[in-house]
């Protein structure tokens, strides 16, 4: 079996965010959704000293910096929307699988915006992954 070059990075994401799923549940047992989001951002800042860039971030193009900030802003806005959905009567068993379908946007936009092509086995893998997300979140 040939492991793709991104395999181990994905494994780290799965383990880290898999534990996050548990911590989200535990944190909201003690805190409001708004407070949990604030402490999440505090946690982001805690690891920032370890990631302090060697060169000035201003050396990067303003376009790439805008993508980076927009990416973070949308992540936080999406997290708030997820919590707001639950606050407005959405059941976790429905809201979580529904929102876990966010890769769909990338699947449809990547060929258009990033000019990427997906092989047939990869397309089948994406479909299986999305079905797995829905089933595991139920």
């Amino acid at each position: 079996m040939h492991l793709p070059p991104w395999f181990w990075q994905c494994a780290v994401v799965l383990v880290a965010w898999g534990i996050v799923g548990l911590l989200q549940k535990l944190s909201t047992n003690h805190l409001s959704a708004e407070s949990a989001l604030v402490w999440l951002v505090v946690g982001f800042f805690l690891i920032d000293p370890l990631l302090y860039p060697k060169e000035s971030v201003l050396a990067y193009s303003s376009r790439s910096l805008a993508w980076a900030f927009l990416s973070a802003f949308l992540n936080a806005l999406g997290a708030w929307a997820l919590l707001a959905a639950m606050k407005h009567g959405g059941k976790a068993s429905i809201v979580v699988p529904l929102t876990a379908l966010y890769p769909l946007a990338m699947v449809f936009l990547a060929p258009v915006i990033l000019h990427e092509s997906v092989t047939r086995p990869q397309a089948l893998g994406v479909a299986c992954a999305l079905v797995a997300v829905v089933l595991l979140s139920t």
Binding site: P53, V57, S71, N75, H88, G90, A105, L135
Partner: protein, 144 residues
């Protein structure tokens, strides 16, 4: 709940907003990481979250609960989310297919389910078992 009823519910549209936002998060994350290194992308990440965090603080009139356990879980949540985000940006920089990487990493409930069973002693339903099977098939297909 029927589909027409769901379409009138606020939670449904908040969920759609979440999908759109997180779709944008992964897309712009991929675009940004084409030039910016993974550690720097993650270094910049919390700064982009500040406007939303300030809005949450304002919504709570700048008063947060003082549960030490809740704060610990919340901060740990941020640290691990950050480590996961760093690895995601690193995966995007391998020139791998963004759609495939995004779908593969979105299977994180796989680990949550396993942890919930082993730590929280929650029971695994047959739906979860089928989901684990689909996740395994997806991993095999990604490695072809």
């Amino acid at each position: 709940m029927s589909l027409p009823a769901a379409l009138k519910a606020k939670w449904f549209w908040y969920s759609i907003l979440c999908i759109v936002c997180w779709g944008g998060w992964t897309l712009f994350g991929k675009l940004g990481s084409a030039e910016i290194s993974a550690p720097t992308m993650q270094f910049l990440f919390p700064f982009g979250c500040i406007p939303i965090a300030l809005a949450m603080l304002w919504a709570r009139r700048f008063k947060l609960e003082k549960s030490p356990r809740g704060i610990f879980y919340g901060v740990a949540n941020g640290v691990l989310s950050g480590i996961g985000g760093l690895a995601l940006f690193a995966a995007y920089r391998t020139q791998g297919n963004a759609a495939v990487i995004t779908a593969a990493t979105a299977m994180y409930p796989l680990i949550t389910v396993v942890l919930a069973v082993t730590i929280l002693r929650e029971r695994l339903t047959w739906i979860h078992v089928v989901g684990l099977g689909f996740a395994g098939v997806a991993f095999v297909l990604f490695s072809i």
